[in-house]
């Protein structure tokens, strides 16, 4: 396991840009393929926006932890991202699947962010631990042959 990034942000939407710029920097150092980087950025953007917008019932300042590390070797390397927040219990895996086949008039935007995350990541794991939401995302790195 190789730790790549570990940071804490406050529950302010403006903080997301800071997370993204750190991820971009890490991506070029590792380096990650453009597709993997975009999948991670989009997933973090969607999940952090959800946490910050809907996760808190008070007006206090809260900390959200974002950790990113690499696991595995050679042909099976993964990027793991872990988000920990002390917001209201929210398990994105329990969210109802969005119906993608609805016509324009009935199409709903709710749940689309989570849907994107589920499709872009290879694995998601949720756990409620000591009044905190712990969400772990796993994304397989492409081998050089595939990319």
């Amino acid at each position: 396991m190789t730790q790549v990034a570990s940071l804490q942000i406050t529950n302010d939407l403006k903080e997301i840009a800071r997370v993204i710029s750190i991820i971009e920097e890490c991506s070029s150092n590792i380096p990650l393929s453009f597709d993997v980087e975009n999948a991670i950025e989009l997933s973090l953007d969607e999940l952090l926006t959800n946490i910050i917008s809907y996760g808190y019932n008070d007006n206090d300042s809260h900390l959200i932890t974002v950790d990113l590390w690499l696991e595995g070797e050679d042909d099976s390397k993964f990027v793991i991202i872990r988000l920990v927040d002390d917001g209201v219990k929210f398990n994105p895996l329990e969210k109802k699947e969005v119906d993608l086949d609805l016509p324009l008039e009935e199409k709903q935007i709710g749940g689309l962010g989570i849907h994107l995350v589920k499709k872009l990541m290879d694995e998601l794991h949720y756990e409620r631990r000591e009044d905190k939401n712990v969400l772990t995302l796993k994304k397989k790195l492409k081998t050089i042959k595939e990319s």
Partner: protein, 112 residues
């Protein structure tokens, strides 16, 4: 995010440059809704320089598409980068938006 608009005939062209995320999407929403209020119902959005889209950006496009449809108009998109197109596909948006490789092709499709 940079948004440029100009009108040619019955079609309003919007070009987007940069990121369409939760911070920048309200700008596009304001612009789009104002144009619709001013009786513009047919749009071509040029995404050649759009680098990123999140569900917040998709939401604005959906709101716009619903509004123009009520007036028999359409929002068509052109020049989507591969990774943006992938997000459209995952979101099921390729079924509700016509996507074209060029703005010219999108424009020609309005004529037919």
């Amino acid at each position: 995010m940079e948004i440029n608009a100009n009108k040619r005939g019955e079609i309003t062209f919007l070009s987007l440059k940069g990121k369409l995320d939760s911070v920048t999407s309200p700008n596009l929403e304001d612009k789009l809704l104002r144009l619709i209020d001013d009786d513009n119902y047919n749009f071509i959005i040029d995404c050649a320089e759009l680098d990123y889209i999140s569900s917040a950006g998709l939401r604005v496009l959906l709101v716009g598409a619903k509004k123009v449809k009520a007036k028999d108009g359409k929002i068509k998109l052109a020049n989507l980068k591969r990774h943006i197109k992938e997000v459209f596909e995952i979101a099921g948006f390729t079924a509700i938006f016509e996507l074209y490789d060029t703005t010219e092709a999108a424009e020609a499709s309005f004529g037919s």
